[in-house]
Symmetry: C2
């Protein structure tokens, strides 16, 4: 059995849920409560030495960490409904869009980072929010430009089927909404997110649809 | 001709230089001076809407952004001397090690982030340094554990040839040294970095070997 150790609100776990759903794979979910600090416990550190989520334990027992690496693995093991285009030129574009979120926006707004800002650097709530919104605006401005002007875009980030880029984008849009970022400057991002969310694979992966979400 | 727009000290450009060298590809380099702010100019933003480096312009004119996406592209187009193992289990491990650096350490210590901490949040030089070293220690502690205990490790992060993981690790070690982080808790990381640096592909990619480095 495939088991996902995650948390309903973790962007990175959310990406993996979407990938698993798009591939039509069945999996168990075990919540690791980030607010209670369970990610720092021995059980989670044994799976993930960074004390982060998600980890995916696959059928042969291998423990996989890092959401994009996990999604690439799932895509290699289950090539149907590909998460990457068939051509190298398309793949580099999709990975690049995904990495704008995964390497430039999300790492800065992670829970552990916000905690450090408040706990170690005495950031006010206002400064923390400004930080959060700043990095989303920086990344989304670039993404919006690329999604608007580049020929590769379609109903989704790349063409008319969801890819690795979409499964990074949608959780980031969720975070932006949660922190009340103004999304009006990003009509293409909003449009693509709407198209994604209309698919069951995305809807069923949403934080509010998870069993560890507050009712 | 392939042209790399980068900066001698940019970790992400350094990764791409290593990849190009390992593949034995020839390329021109055009420096984008990050200290002078050239990354925010129109010329760079036309290539890279985020105002970052590196960008790689390949022979057909396509502009590639995001260092890991670029390295995957180079690896696909030039399969000899592979940067990823042949098995999916190995590939997910290598990508995961690479992403610990690229998604969890480096994004937090980027120049634009340090500038924000000082300029917008009034961080002192001491607080900035503590921040820098904190995220390296967090990531390197996890990496050291994985590189020590996991069977996949060898002379390099994975086995006995350099992979995507090594070309993320070495620039991060360079940054750690530059900011005088204590590396004694990480003997495996140091050993692997030493093995990498003994290879011409790594040595020739080092910041101090670039034409835009101060003499």
């Amino acid at each position: 059995m495939t088991t996902l150790y995650g948390y309903f609100r973790s962007s990175a776990a959310y990406r993996v849920r979407i990938a698993l759903n798009l591939k039509g794979l069945s999996y168990d979910q075990v919540p690791v409560n980030l607010v209670k600090g369970e990610q720092h416990g021995d059980a989670n550190r044994a799976r993930n030495p960074q004390g982060l989520v998600p980890s995916l334990v696959v059928e042969d027992g291998q423990v996989l960490n890092q959401s994009l690496a996990i999604c690439e693995y799932l895509n290699e093991k289950h090539p149907e409904k590909p998460l990457l285009p068939a051509d190298a030129e398309g793949r580099v574009r999709v990975r690049s869009l995904a990495q704008i979120v995964a390497c430039e926006i999300h790492p800065l707004n992670n829970l552990r980072v916000l905690k450090y800002l408040v706990g170690e650097m005495n950031a006010t709530e206002e400064a923390k929010l400004a930080w959060y919104r700043h990095w989303i605006a920086e990344g989304f401005t670039a993404l919006e430009a690329m999604l608007s002007r580049e020929a590769g875009s379609g109903d989704f980030c790349h063409g008319d089927t969801p890819t690795l880029a979409d499964l990074c984008l949608v959780p980031q849009v969720y975070n932006a909404e949660r922190f009340e970022c103004d999304l009006t400057p990003y009509p293409r991002i909003q449009e693509i997110a709407t198209n994604c969310r209309a698919l069951p694979a995305f809807a069923q992966a949403a934080p509010e649809a998870q069993t560890d979400a507050p009712q």
